[in-house]
């Protein structure tokens, strides 16, 4: 039961953190809650479909369909996160200024909400499809411990959701200016982390060279199976054995989005947020 709880927790954690961060980041955008919910539901439906067609997806492109699918889905998520952050860097100040009276003044709030739906949908789809497969495996087995394992799964699910909610609630407690800087940095790191994961799938599919096997091995210091390792993996893309190409993708996306955010402008240097007057 405990092992099951851990497995489900790991699968749920990443999606939950992404939802928590984005729910906080878009809190002032009108209608964002509905879009968020729609994203979760669409993601769950998609997860079921992806899980059901695992074999078909896997067989595509000479057996590397799963990697391609994951890499493309992650690539879309990176683009949407980039769009979100760049959009926020031009509208964030506006949102902060008249947080409550904004209404429908932001003309392209709608496209921002579609980006939100896609990001959340993709996060749930990816992590959800593995969870569905795992639970299907348990349900299909005739082990006597089935109900205990399903209970473990439920505990893992609740644990994962709790971590996501914690980061959401924590972010909302921040003073407004610090809040924009913090969510901006977190979304930036999520995007870089997903780009690195996409690179990993492309290396696994033998579509990209690894550029140096593992560049380092820090599993002795911080294992990805440890609680802190899991959290850092989901949050900032910590990898104990990264390939060189993963670092290229990580840093490339990080720099590209940060530069675009500055360029779109009116954004305060992240991290040096002045003490907010809230």
């Amino acid at each position: 039961m405990f092992a099951t709880a851990i497995i489900i927790f790991r699968e749920v954690l990443e999606a939950s953190l992404i939802i928590g961060i984005l729910a906080a980041a878009t809190r002032e955008i009108p209608g964002s809650r509905r879009w968020l919910l729609a994203g979760i539901l669409a993601g769950l439906a998609g997860a079921g479909m992806v899980a059901a067609s695992t074999d078909a997806i896997g067989a595509l492109a000479d057996g590397i369909g799963q990697e391609l699918f994951n890499a493309i889905v992650l690539g879309v998520a990176v683009l949407m996160l980039a769009w979100h952050n760049i959009w926020m860097s031009s509208h964030g100040a506006q949102l902060a200024a008249h947080a409550k009276t904004l209404g429908s003044e932001i003309s392209d709030g709608r496209s921002e909400c579609s980006a939100l739906l896609l990001i959340v949908g993709i996060a749930v789809l990816r992590e959800g499809s593995e969870t569905v497969l795992f639970l299907y495996g348990i349900a299909a087995s005739d082990e006597g411990s089935r109900s205990a394992m399903l209970l473990g799964g439920l505990i893992g699910l609740l644990g994962g959701v709790a971590v996501g909610y914690t980061i959401y609630a924590g972010l909302l407690r921040l003073p407004l200016r610090l809040f924009f800087a913090a969510t901006g940095v977190l979304v930036l790191l999520l995007a870089a982390s997903m780009a690195s994961q996409a690179a990993r799938f492309l290396i696994q599919a033998d579509l990209l060279p690894s550029l140096g096997g593992p560049v380092w091995d820090s599993s002795g210091i911080l294992s990805e199976q440890s609680a802190m390792g899991m959290l850092l993996h989901s949050l900032v893309g910590y990898d104990s054995h990264p390939a060189g190409m993963q670092l290229v993708f990580y840093i490339g996306v990080l720099v590209a989005i940060a530069v675009a955010m500055r360029w779109v402008g009116r954004v305060r240097p992240a991290g040096i947020a002045p003490k907010a007057a809230v």
Partner: protein
């Protein structure tokens, strides 16, 4: 978009031959063989066949690999070139029984 274009550009490179092929089976939530010896410094293609009815996820932190294999499904995982050493892997969906190690030498 640029990533999708990137994939399209790289697709012709897909499936270029690995140096060594290895077959790995999953049966009763165990890997067979549980120990694989491969040459160091070469690219290796692992063909994984899942003989069980339930899905499994091949996972290795040492190798930085992760792939789901459907019940009664099969798949391909590329690894290497590896420096000589021991690399553990496991079936994430059955961590109690599904373990294995790849030795590169």
């Amino acid at each position: 978009m640029k990533y999708i274009l990137l994939f399209a550009l790289l697709l012709p490179l897909a499936g270029h031959a690995a140096d060594t092929d290895v077959t790995l089976q999953i049966k009763d939530h165990r890997f067979q063989p549980a120990e694989i010896v491969v040459p160091a410094g070469k690219k290796i293609r692992i063909l994984v066949e899942n003989l069980d009815t339930t899905p499994e996820e091949f996972e290795s932190h040492d190798l930085n690999r992760e792939k789901v294999i459907a019940g009664h499904g099969s798949t391909t995982i590329y690894i290497g070139p590896l420096p000589a050493g021991r690399y553990t892997f496991m079936g994430e969906f059955h961590p109690d029984s599904a373990h294995g190690v790849i030795t590169a030498q």
